[in-house]
């Protein structure tokens, strides 16, 4: 009864309706929440895949909400770029949902309905941000995502969680407000809010102060949202002290979606020639990306806490994508888009591992990782795959996006960016082998403290894997990292190369 032309709406509406269904079901019996969540996200994922299929078959789709033609009404636009991002978002959210069950039961037993309602609302917001073709609608969904994230983070039982959340509220609001302000500048100059419409009206206004300023303000807002160094201050604490399930949802997705939105603005609201030529400093932005990569890696190196180290790596990875997008050549953009996909999965893999460590060892300091290779061989194997992908060892996915970014850097003559990429690979190698060493050499640290004969400990540790609902998603993701690595060629030739704007 609902034809395929309606799938774009279904993708958003089903999770939204599910949010209320979950909330109401929670009043009756909280055991209903989890299945509902999975069901809704499953439907959304199916719809997303179907839509991507349509896009690959017959090109970009436009969907008119309320039946009003753009620019009067709000429009959904799905092309190769956000089609891909939508699929990734849905899949990651689904896996995170599957994974969340046990940890939520453990960490937030009396708030399950609230948690899952906010969880799926956050997913709805992310999907809406990705799919919408209307500049203001994007702001509303950005705020939904933000509000839900604040609460999901503040719910953490860690002592620092509320303060981290509050900092996030203040900084996040600044970011969103800047975005709104930028849209306002666009509106006062053009009188339109629809992205495609703006794209057609803007060119003759490119040189006006207001339009250039709007671009600056929008970038600032988005950079705050994506924690682009040095605007990253809110991220590490927020993601470290958030509940496990929250971290697994927002750490892979939020920054990536913001990066996607930056690409959307650069290419579909303004135009590549504006972003790269009219708007002067494309090169300095790449250097900022270099700074982000180097700083992120170094700060990660300084951490004593596993989860916190991962959060700083996210800061570094953001540098990869921003830099790639601003290299202003096909290789760079391809690499950045491919890295959006890969990094979402890598981050998911690593945060899954961290979650399992928290679940089993009741902590996420490095000392909690002792002896895990014997305690949870499968988990650590999957983690190793994720780590290798972060380092960029073929044939894991991480290698190929890095490959494209390196090519782009060389073609653009950005040796600094190339050096930064290699540097961060080396740092990642150091970081992850530090972790692997701890987990591989040191005896199981049930009792904290460095004593305890190692030779003895080899035999006492029994295999004790994480529960299936946590292990299965982790293994799936690590398998996906390998699969995407091997098929990245077809991914690029069939989807991403169409996402790169014409003229590159």
């Amino acid at each position: 009864m609902i034809g395929p032309e309606q799938y774009p709406a279904v993708m958003i509406v089903v999770p939204l309706l599910a949010a209320f269904a979950i909330n109401l079901a929670g009043l009756i019996d909280r055991r209903f929440c989890y299945p509902l969540l999975l069901l809704a996200l499953g439907v959304a994922a199916a719809a997303a895949l179907a839509v991507l299929g349509q896009v690959m078959r017959d090109g970009p789709i436009s969907y008119r909400l309320g039946g009003w033609p753009p620019p009067m009404g709000i429009e959904y636009v799905v092309d190769h770029l956000n089609g891909l991002v939508l699929v990734v978002t849905c899949v990651v959210a689904f896996l995170a949902a599957v994974y969340s069950k046990r940890s939520v039961e453990r960490e937030l037993p009396d708030k399950i309905p609230y948690f899952y309602t906010l969880f799926i609302l956050a997913v709805t917001g992310l999907l809406g941000m990705t799919i919408t073709g209307d500049a203001f609608n994007l702001y509303v969904l950005m705020e939904i995502t933000a509000l839900t994230n604040y609460a999901l983070i503040a719910a953490g039982r860690a002592d620092r969680a509320p303060m981290a959340s509050f900092t996030y509220i203040i900084i996040g609001t600044i970011g969103a407000s800047f975005y709104l302000l930028g849209v306002g500048h666009l509106y006062i100059m053009t009188g339109s809010l629809n992205m495609a419409d703006l794209r057609t009206i803007l060119p003759e206004l490119y040189t006006t102060h207001a339009v250039i300023a709007s671009f600056i303000i929008l970038l600032l807002g988005l950079w705050i949202k994506m924690a682009f160094f040095p605007l990253h201050g809110w991220l590490p604490n927020a993601y470290t002290h958030a509940p496990t399930a929250t971290g697994c949802l927002i750490a892979p997705l939020v920054t990536k979606v913001s990066v996607y939105i930056m690409a959307r603005l650069m290419f579909s609201v303004y135009s590549p020639e504006f972003s790269y030529r009219v708007f002067g400093p494309a090169e300095p932005v790449v250097w900022m990306a270099v700074a982000a990569i180097v700083a992120g890696s170094l700060m990660a190196l300084a951490q004593k806490d596993f989860k916190k180290m991962l959060t700083y790596l996210i800061v570094a990875e953001v540098g990869y994508m921003v830099g790639g997008l601003w290299l202003a050549n096909r290789y760079g953009i391809t690499g950045a888009v491919l890295h959006i996909v890969n990094d979402a999965l890598m981050t998911l893999c690593l945060f899954f591992t961290a979650g399992i460590v928290v679940y089993k060892m009741k902590g996420h300091a490095f000392t909690d990782l002792r002896g895990l290779f014997r305690k949870m061989p499968l988990t650590m194997a999957a983690f190793t795959v994720g780590a290798l992908s972060m380092i960029g060892v073929p044939p894991t996915a991480g290698f190929f996006s890095k490959w494209y970014l390196l090519l782009g850097a060389i073609e653009a003559g950005q040796w600094g960016f190339m050096a930064a990429l290699l540097f961060s690979s080396l740092i990642n190698a150091v970081l992850f082998f530090k972790v692997i060493e701890i987990a591989y050499f040191e005896p199981c640290g049930v009792q904290h403290g460095h004593d305890g004969g190692q030779a003895a400990a080899h035999d006492v540790i029994a295999v004790d894997e994480a529960p299936f609902s946590m292990l299965a998603p982790l293994v799936l993701v690590s398998a996906a990292l390998l699969a995407i690595g091997i098929y990245s060629g077809s991914l690029v030739t069939n989807i991403i190369q169409y996402a790169v704007p014409a003229g590159f």
Binding site: P395, F400, W403, I410, E437, F441, Q454, I486, S488, G489
Partner: protein, 490 residues
Amino acid sequence: METMVSIKPLLAVLVSLAAVAPIAFSGSRPNRREGWTFGAGIIKLALILSMLPTVLAGGEIRYTVAELLPGLAIAFRVDGLGMLFALVASSLWLVTSAYSIGYMRGLKEHSQTRYFAFFAVALSATIGVAFAANLFTLYLFYEMLSLATYPLVTHHQDHEARLAGRRYLAYILGTSIAFVLPAMVIVYQQAGSLDFVRGGFLAGAGLSPALLGLLFFLFVFGFAKAAIMPFHAWLPAAMVAPTPVSALLHAVAVVKVGVFAIFRIVTGVFGPDLLRELGLGQWLAILAAITILVASLIALSQDGLKRRLAFSTIGQLSYIILGAALLSPKGMTGGLVHIGMHAYGKITLFFCAGAIFVATGLKNISDLDGIGKRMPVTMAAFFVGSLSVIGLPPTGGFFSKWYLLQGTLQAEQQVMLFVLLSSSLLNAAYFLPIVYRAFFCPPAECRVHGPLREAPLWCVVPLVVTALCSIGLFFYPDLFRRLAEIGLGL
């Protein structure tokens, strides 16, 4: 020469990888577990042998697994070089597996299942490097080998192993990421391809000599498994590994992968002509010469048997690199053949060291006085092995060294001739005393007294086999020579 497409190379790579799962799951039944290892080894060897005739007939076997990115594929190509290396590695895997059984069980090592599993992975990677059709595939398996050998090197999981493993990865992984990866990307971006072509494909790409020089040395140092100084320090450190690991990986697989990669760079990427006209071969030769002499001198001063062997390995590897650097037909042939010859000789020596350790628990040369009376077979094999490494008849080592010497003359580099000769003397100087002590010195303490007691049979048989092999190679070196010449297109 005809080119045929066949999946055999892929199978040859995957067979040991496929064996990992059954090995891991039959951990509780050691005999069945080792059964899997042998099965995989035999199948692998059979597959490789089945490809031998085609290669000897001057043919090539190609197989493309996946086109990862445009112009960048996981592809296999079996030619003379690859076949030579694959033969050596896969045949010695069987022997080493047998030896491992004796060694590991003799010492009651922990987590042997993990050991055998990763051994299988390492072998897959080695064969993958041997059959790689392009630089990317080679890099892929090179990294795979680095990671697969990490758990083997750090098998003991104690503090020493931890430090050794750290150094191992720092050198191997660090150089490959910091040097090889950027060089590879630049080559791909400039030349648009990474496929090995006999005679090299960079000649026509029109790169500036400066850039070419930079790239060349990025590659040479990047493949740090070749242990060219100053990137050699990982090799002695890695000797904390159980002896079979040192034997196969640090006399055959890992280090030879390094030199093999450099051979590929010389013959397949740059091409002798280009290197000659840029004068890069000269520089590489000098590096190799320095490494040869310094390593031999250091080896003299080592008391730990395995450490002495390690430094001797560093020197011997540079023989091969020198052969490549000479860029003269005989020299390169000699270098390639030396891959095989040195493998058999050196693995024998390592086996002996392990056997002595298993039987008596001794590690240092100074303790070995009179051990020959107690372990005559082992020490006899040791003697043969050292002859081969020194390069004296009747062992295979003589043959390859003979070719290398001729190569130096062919390339009119008399200096290198003297380098080789003097290093032979040094080799003699650090090997023969051991044999002398073993047989003719009176035992210092009572520790090595007592009746004749060899290491377990599982240990002794393999080292006898390899010793005999290196003698046999003196009389029948033609297979390796032919393969080398085919590979070089002579």
